[in-house]
């Protein structure tokens, strides 16, 4: 049962996180401007609040779940190193250390 939940991908990559933040800020700011102008025209501040709340709901829907569009730029991880080929990989690291000491 738990493994089903764990198999659902929940992460966003770094660019996806930035995109999500820009999307919700844009939506809320636009709905705030629309709501303020509309409330000012009809002289009802309640409608301003309702419109901002609607923008809040829309941006919750768009940015809270980790939609696939926030996972388009996965980090390029190093390939998994097997135990057998472990020794040759250590040599370059030793080289780097030596260079630093020079």
């Amino acid at each position: 049962m738990l493994s089903i939940f764990k198999s659902i991908p929940t992460h966003m990559d770094y660019k996806g996180q930035k995109l999500a933040e820009q999307i919700f800020q844009g939506i809320i700011l636009i709905s705030a401007v629309i709501g303020f102008v509309y409330g000012l025209i009809i002289q009802q501040f309640g409608w301003t609040v309702y419109i901002v709340l609607a923008g809040f709901a829309v941006s919750c829907l768009l940015t809270l779940p980790p939609w696939p569009m926030y996972r388009r730029n996965p980090l390029p991880w190093q390939p998994v190193v097997s135990e057998a080929s472990g020794e040759p990989n250590q040599k370059p690291q030793d080289n780097i250390k030596r260079k630093k000491h020079k």
Partner: protein
């Protein structure tokens, strides 16, 4: 921003900040508005009695009774930053002991969306017009003013005096107290 909860947190905080800014904007658009409107007050009957004032030092004090008409159009006061008006009719006069006496005679709450045309005829005062002595008899300058508190959604709570007050003289004689 990497988990659902942290995104929900920043989204909620940002929305609240935006809402606070909008509320402040609502206050700014109405902060410098003139909320005075002309008020027409007419007093049709003035009666003066001298009765025992049991709240005071057991002496007889002046008690006035007024019958008045008020008409005003409160529509210009209402805008998107007004929830309700608290109207009150106050009497101001000077006596020998006090240079300024203020007595609230009547009040009314006008909610947003209610009828804003005030047209009241032959109203009796809601509260007793008691002087704390004998300052009402033959007082020639008792000024009635209709004022209001503007209760806003956000911002300051203005206290506005309506333009158009009336000054009336009180009679020289007390009304004969009937004993039953």
């Amino acid at each position: 921003m990497n988990t659902v909860l942290s995104r929900a947190n920043s989204l909620f905080a940002f929305s609240l900040s935006v809402m606070a800014a909008l509320t402040f904007g609502c206050f700014v658009t109405t902060a410098f508005k003139d909320r005075r409107v002309p008020v027409d007050i007419h007093v049709s009957k003035v009666m003066l009695k001298n009765v025992d004032d049991f709240t005071g030092p057991r002496e007889r004090s002046d008690l006035g009774f007024l019958t008045f008409d008020i008409s005003a159009d409160l529509e210009p006061i209402f805008d998107w930053n007004v929830k309700q008006l608290f109207l009150y009719l106050s009497a101001e006069y000077a006596t020998k002991s006090n240079s300024l006496n203020q007595v609230v005679l009547w009040d009314r709450i006008v909610l947003r969306g209610e009828n804003t045309k005030l047209n009241l005829r032959d109203m009796k005062s809601k509260y007793f017009f008691f002087d704390d002595g004998n300052g009402l008899r033959s007082n020639k300058n008792v000024t009635l003013t209709l004022s209001w508190n503007v209760v806003p959604n956000a911002g300051i709570l203005p206290l506005v005096a309506g333009s158009g007050h009336i000054s009336l003289p009180f009679p020289d004689q007390y009304e004969a107290t009937k004993s039953y």
